[in-house]
Symmetry: C2
Subunit: 123 residues, 2 copies
């Protein structure tokens, strides 16, 4: 168990109080996790339904991000034994508990970014 007690090297969580910020961030960070989580707030979605909602994500990336979210226990993956395949993704309880965080991010974005990006200006 590589938790706080590791003597010489600390992996992520045993630093200053600010660490839980970084730790939480590390879960929802990854180019598409935020949006994925956001869309799943609305309910269960199939793989291709998510793709439609996030047109720029590639198949590989989507699979990837979904897998990471699953490993971190934020989403549940349900496979139906059908052909063609059907796989549904939904928030786990843990994922659902992130709702406040996701919405905080969204609200701040809506209020302070009002749908354009300051860093784009020079491009």
């Amino acid at each position: 168990m590589d938790t706080v007690s590791s003597p010489g090297r600390h992996s992520r969580l045993d630093c200053s109080p600010g660490c839980s910020v970084e730790a939480t961030l590390s879960l929802i960070d990854g180019k598409w996790k935020g949006v994925i989580l956001f869309h799943l707030l609305d309910g269960t979605l199939r793989f291709n339904e998510i793709r439609k909602r996030i047109p720029d994500v590639t198949q590989r990336m989507l699979t990837n991000q979904l897998r990471e979210l699953e490993v971190d226990g934020l989403i549940a993956r349900r496979v139906y034994a059908q052909v063609p395949p059907k796989v549904e993704y939904s928030l786990s309880e843990r994922g659902r508990s992130l709702e406040a965080v996701i919405l905080a991010l969204k609200h701040w974005g809506d209020a302070h970014l009002h749908l354009f990006h300051p860093r784009d200006s020079a491009a």
Copy 2:
């Protein structure tokens, strides 16, 4: 090219409503931004004071992250014409407005992962 901000990150925000989530995320994302912001919630800090609070950050990285935060208008940088130099960092108004978000991240972290990280264990 080791410049300040990375335009390749999330420059195109033309996706769905969930985009403000990613957009906000892209601002506080970066290995140390979350913690930096968190520490600045307490008030103005000098460069080396931040370093002391975040022992693992290298000088280069700290400069880097601070620059990005500055470019994104989240922090203010105040240079005193002295020798040796004195540079103070503080939250801008925009940065201060992120307080709720930072705290949401911290609270979730404290409550839901309280020092247990799934991805760290089985290496």
